[in-house]
Symmetry: C2
Subunit: 503 residues, 2 copies
């Protein structure tokens, strides 16, 4: 009946039905990363459950955002840290959000991130040592693993259980995702994170980018040291995390080229940017009343991401005073201290339905910290995205007073991006579902795996071949020269001999 209903487009209909039909009843193991990462992955997990797959999510007993659900099974595992210790490390990590992004801060931020992920690795190891749980999971006979490679748990389990891994991510620090998947990233036009470069660089920017590209390789080894240690102990001594990630069948990247610089990609990379803003729900009554009351001036959405609802009082007061002077209403996700005479056009909330608010016709501006969810939801609904300005402390005053000017300036550009972002043959959620099911149906995606995985870097760049060819050329030249010398000497020698005889 579905087929008939889709009559005007029968082949696509058939394919989609086929895909749903064949994979129904597949078993998927999910190893999520805690925090905002989970919010996106959850969308896919819910959808896969709704389509009839048996989904089992691994949840640490102390977690920030992962909770159980009616639609999927959770397996809760013990971890060697308390909720307080977890929150402590996380608070350290988010300190970096309010300092301007200077290169000098990079190593501090890396250190905080390493502290946080090392804790997650410890939790992971605790689970891997839980023999009973491991045996139970192995016995389930999962068809595939859906994992956030930001922590190594999923990759290790996929390898141990010999099931293909589907990775779900926005990107990994120091491009480990591209490195592991053998995807070329020429530093001549692919700007390094934190470099401040775009894809069009002059000579000095290119030099900076090139140097940072090589520094990044070193940073990589520091950042992933605890991961490398884990995989070498649980899999084999010569295994590294990068190599392990290279076994991934499909990479679902929460990214697309309306935001990312165009670059080489691999056949097993699937771009599902915008997966977090496919559907919108109506606003709760009180919010609807507040935003409707904003009149023609409209309202502003201000959030620093799902994990940061607090900020230093001095910064907060600055924002309150700035908001007092604008005609727009402001919806602000804020749980910190509130000054006594806070302006009435500001509504504070513990949590706000960001995606639904941005889809509202009266939404005028979106102020965010620059997290990927906010950016994609901004692009989705064509709102102005001024994250680069709010991130720079110095620009705040200018920003608030010139909101309207900025708003109009960015509006057009943002709407173009939005129209490009939406104009895709398959919506991101359906694409993510398709490829996850594909991996379950075919037990991997080996036909998309490049042979580069079998080469070391000397072989990859043909340096051994170059050395070999150089050796041949040098030998040939050497022999030729020797021969010539020998001949010359013989001739001269005979000449001298003859001369001597004549003498």
């Amino acid at each position: 009946s579905t087929l008939t209903a889709m009559g005007w487009f029968p082949v696509l209909g058939l394919l989609l039905c086929l895909s749903v039909g064949l994979s129904e009843g597949s078993k998927l193991l999910v190893a999520p990363m805690d925090g905002s990462h989970w919010l996106s992955m959850k969308i896919l997990v819910m959808e896969l459950s709704a389509r009839g797959h048996e989904v089992v999510v691994l949840v640490p007993e102390n977690s920030l955002l992962i909770k159980g659900s009616q639609t999927f099974t959770t397996v809760i595992y013990k971890v060697p840290y308390t909720k307080e210790e977890l929150d402590g490390k996380f608070n350290e990590l988010r300190k970096g959000v309010f300092s301007p992004p200077k290169f000098s801060d990079l190593m501090t931020n890396v250190e905080r991130l390493v502290n946080f992920t090392t804790m997650q690795v410890k939790g992971c190891e605790y689970m891997l040592n839980n023999k009973e749980l491991m045996d139970q999971l192995r016995g389930e006979g999962f068809d595939a693993m859906l994992s956030d490679p930001f922590i190594p748990c999923g990759s290790v389990l996929a390898h141990m259980f010999s099931i293909p891994a589907v990775y779900f991510l926005n990107g990994l620090p120091c491009q480990l995702d591209f490195r592991a998947n053998q995807c070329p990233s020429p530093p001549s036009y692919i700007p390094i994170f934190y470099s401040g470069n775009t894809d069009k660089m002059n000579f000095l920017q290119r030099a900076k980018n090139f140097i940072l590209y090589n520094i990044e390789s070193y940073v990589c080894t520091v950042m992933y040291a605890s991961f490398d240690d884990l995989v070498s102990r649980y899999i084999s001594e010569d295994m590294t995390y990068q190599k392990l990630l290279g076994e991934g069948a499909i990479w679902l990247l929460r990214n697309d080229f309306t935001f990312q610089w165009p670059r080489p990609i691999m056949p097993n990379m699937v771009f599902i940017g915008g997966i977090n803003c496919v559907t919108t729900k109506p606003l709760p009554a009180d919010l609807e009343e507040f935003v409707e009351g904003s009149g023609d001036d409209g309202f502003i959405v201000f959030t620093m991401g799902s994990m940061v609802s607090d900020m230093p009082l001095k910064t907060a007061t600055f924002f309150f005073e700035a908001f007092r002077q604008i005609p727009q209403r402001v919806l602000w996700r804020y749980e910190g201290k509130v000054p006594e005479n806070a302006p009435k056009n500001v509504k504070l909330l513990k949590w706000l339905p960001q995606n639904d608010l941005l889809a509202h016709p009266k939404a005028r501006l979106f102020m965010t910290h620059g997290g990927t969810h906010g950016i994609y939801e901004g692009i989705c609904h064509g709102r102005d995205n001024v994250h680069r300005m709010t991130a720079r402390g110095v620009a705040e005053q200018l920003l608030i007073f010139d909101l309207t000017v900025l708003s109009n300036f960015y509006k057009e550009k943002m709407q173009t991006l939005s129209s490009l972002h939406h104009d895709r043959p398959v919506p991101p959620l359906d694409l993510a579902v398709f490829w996850t099911e594909f991996v379950m149906r075919h037990k991997g995606a080996d036909h998309l795996r490049v042979a580069a995985h079998d080469l070391n870097w000397i072989q990859y760049f043909c340096l051994d071949v170059l050395a070999f060819l150089t050796l041949i050329v040098v030998t040939v030249i050497g022999i030729t020269v020797k021969c010539c010398l020998f001949c010359t000497r013989k001739c001269c020698g005979r000449g001298t001999a003859v001369k001597k005889k004549q003498a």
Copy 2:
């Protein structure tokens, strides 16, 4: 109403409706390549016409396969050669089909190909000089150009009319498509055409591949000399064909990774392999009777491609005698001389509905020359593909007698490939339509264009940066050494002076 009908999948429905709605009435100029290439492109052209676009196809007055149609407009242009001259050059070109593919033949085949394409270039130039036609076309205000880059006409017109180009192709000789689109092709795991290598190479194979990769660059300049000449005269002096192709918005590649080795790709490459076997029609009555009468033994489809219906009598006789000894019926596309007592299980045809025959349940084996249409239709319908054997003269006898063995040997592998090939989120024809319409809607696809197009190869590989950094290091070392020497000399000098004084 379509939206309601597709209720269970509303977002996809919406997107597809949107895409059809917005582009209706767009104007597309088509510059096809004559011969079998046209047969695939025609499928897309017909579909775009059927979806309400105004499609204008440029046809040379003397052509091999391009004909007019009720569903699209043709503009016929004069060419400076007769049908006989065209056929003559083409017959030369297809001579290569029956010789075994040795590397020594490569240059001969390249020469024949160059002779053939040079003729097409002359035809193209004749059109470009037709000022009246050019003015008429320019006045039409086309939204995009759909072109087969195997000949340069379409690219030149797209540049001259300032409209985005969509390229439709299987691949270009010496990887010019990948080169032009700035797609990295490491010779360490991407086998060069004609090298006989696969994607897994040992050291010597890699050395061979590396050397051939560099030879290919030279072959490129020879092959495309007449194209380069044309574009430099009609566009600008510093324009090459490779640079011009680099302006292409979208590359529709009739290829996919069930057949092609996995490799890096670019965001503007769309894989539509199998576009030529999406739909099957019932067989004509006489064919249906013949194949139905084959019983349990089934039948064999034998064709050397759309352009070759003839072969040397000696070869033909060999095939006839071989077919006499097998129980299967044979459908053979053959127009050459027939021996007196030809076997009764062989039916000769001037043209055969290859795709429809291969989809028939009694089809047992597909013997082909290895053209891409046959291969994809073979993959589509899960038939055994023994093109590599038929291409090698020596293996023919073995091949025919061991058909059944081979058949079972390849059957399973081929069916796996077939199931992978079919398992895609969007059927190839719809994907090709989507991206052609996308380019018309957005006047190109700039957000998918890599910045590498603005770099020369020294910049691309950061060789200038490397030289600069080396210079700095050498200078610093030089100055340090000089300083040390100066200090040492001064100390020693003073030492000597002191000594002298003491003396």
